[in-house]
Symmetry: D3
Subunit: 160 residues, 6 copies
């Protein structure tokens, strides 16, 4: 099996997907940002105020999903039919876990859209907290699950 | 000290930086993507061919740096004066480590631009290898160093 | 009935439309910009020259319609199948009335695309005339009519 | 005095501003969206929840300000140094009044950026409420004040 | 037969294509850039190194194809299903010939996408070589072939 | 002298320009599109109507100039201070010659912006006329003149 993004001359290309079927495709990606105890508390309590960090990150993640084919060179442009994000505050480790779900009816999967949503949300949290915390780390970004298309259902089993 | 991105009503805003000085500001960010042994080998040997994965990721990282203020809501638009990326193949762990440097002469730092460059490069590697590897993980994205501006030189010391 | 753009946690999301049918959807939006008598005359007589204000506004409105999902966070990306604008010079009140029609075959309506076309056209007229007129007002932007989708035909009856 | 956006042949151009001075330029624009009593109540009470309509509109307005030169053809690209929005709930008329302030140190003013912020915020409120209200009207969008540049201080006096 | 991009008032519009059929549409465009002997040699030998000029041009061409409806005002947004480029080094004339193929299943052709891919690739080569060569010329950009849609198969016969 | 866009590892980078001076930089680029006699006549006579082909091309060229760093990977983002285009109808050869001038006060030249303006204008003419003419050719795109920066004044002498 070869890298599908390479043409015969070894150059990158946008893979042809004309012959794939239009099916409902859903992808769920996960990622996290580890912050200081103080930052964690700020984000958490800010969560009950208007305009808090997580709301901006939520909006950013959705916008990010829509910009995926603009910033990932070989990604196909897609008409996403739904995007949602969820934040999970893990107190023990001052970690904000981000889950994003992207959906489309199309010829190619939306893993990159879900992963981009998670990543842009994490970067947005970083941006809004960086004045008080320079030691944040974005980590553990991976595809958790996908359905639709020829390859069928994929559920990540490896612990991360 | 308060979260600078919040106005008095608790809403997010783009922080005013008119009174900051125009200085040379440089940021270096690091991140990595862990892949399977097979994928690692492919990317590595592809490295001697035209159009290899890392070259596309390099271009994507530079484009990503330029799109930072488009995808991170509170980021100031900046006229970046230089962006470069470097890939380090770590054989022991099948890890591709990505370093990005962003530069500007301006009123605000370029941490987000360097972090976005790293992230978009990692997502691009993910995109180009996902047909043969669904277990990849993007991790350890952080600010390694920054100079310029009032806060001066920052060098991350904490081991990651 | 709840706000469809909110998920269960109260966060904004891009609504899922996978189960909606692909139908022809058309929306017509209206808006206007009131200018000074002098500006009105300029725009009107400029209308017979190459490169006049309204032609640029027309192009801007079409481009604006295509950028709708880029600037309205929860808007679905759509492949518009047609966009047109029309300008109506109302002499009595020095008002330029703008009508935009947007069309798509898709799972979600194009109200926002028509409204964005009108708005961007009005802002473009403002931009091109602001050197001679600072008192312009953009007003009365609303959805005039829409067809397609489950909710069927909507025609605004309330006088505006 | 001629329309500055026209070249000698009558075509539109992006006006040359090389000889203008870099000064601090600030613009404040105002606009409003009139909604039904029910929608008004929803937006208002949603205002204490995470992810409410106004927070998304706030983020959209800031992003919109940054995209101004992308959507208004003759607008100069600018490195905005600050953008903020404020929402004022006017109970008597079920009106949400939006104020946006944009700032830059540059050769040209930021009226269009402030006006675009207001407009995009209004369109975003429209988008998020349109499932329950089709009769909303966006109105009274105008420049309230500007400072900086050769023309100096402008404060709109005409009642609107 | 009239110019389809004009409405009855003589203004430009985005042509309505709702009634066209979704068929596979492919377009192939060709163009070239003539460079100095020294530049030609550099690009050619650089072709075996990582990150060479042609690889960046290849990525740029693909990105350019995806941005077509962003930069060509009356172009319909399309979900391209495949894009590829090929470079042909013509020694006799120090010419780099660029061929781009774009594909979509849709209601309107992809000539503009293929032409934009060629053009952006040529501009990228220009950009990367301009420090050593100011006399380059981009030329002979045309549609070589198209299939799909009502007009059927078109193959350019005129020698260029 | 080496290709400035390559880092030591042979990868492409965005060249560092921090140490260059901010000077007024102007570039003039030229290009042309050759059309059929019938198309030429249409464009020419359309030139007196509202919304004609050349006006749309003019707007597109200006927008294109502003998008240059979005579509040319290694281009620095710049705050253009002026862009203008001019069309010259050459009857003898059914050729529309396009000249674009771009200006900036910055650390790097605007050749690519002027060239992109010409190219996007040509592609837009192509797009609007392609329903009646498939044999058009875009050709002779080159840098005619540039001033500013260390390299000083450049005026192309070679006949094209």
């Amino acid at each position: 099996m070869s890298l599908t993004h390479m043409n015969e001359l070894g150059y990158a290309k946008m893979v042809s997907v004309e012959e794939k079927k239009d099916t409902l495709r859903i992808a769920r990606a996960i990622g996290e940002i580890v912050v200081s105890a103080e930052t964690f508390e700020r984000v958490k309590t800010g969560g009950i105020k208007k305009g808090d960090v997580l709301t901006v990150a939520q909006v950013a993640g959705i916008i990010g999903a829509k910009r995926t084919s603009d910033i990932i060179p070989m990604c196909h442009p897609l008409n996403l039919t739904g995007v949602d994000l969820e934040f999970n505050m893990i107190d023990e480790t001052n970690t904000i876990q981000i889950t994003a779900i992207a959906k489309v009816i199309g010829k190619t999967g939306v893993e990159m859209e879900a992963l981009t949503a998670v990543t842009v949300a994490a970067l947005t949290i970083y941006d809004m907290c960086k004045a008080i915390d320079k030691e944040m780390v974005i980590q553990n970004i991976y595809l958790a699950e996908k359905t639709g298309g020829k390859s069928g259902h994929y559920l990540r089993t490896k612990e991360n």
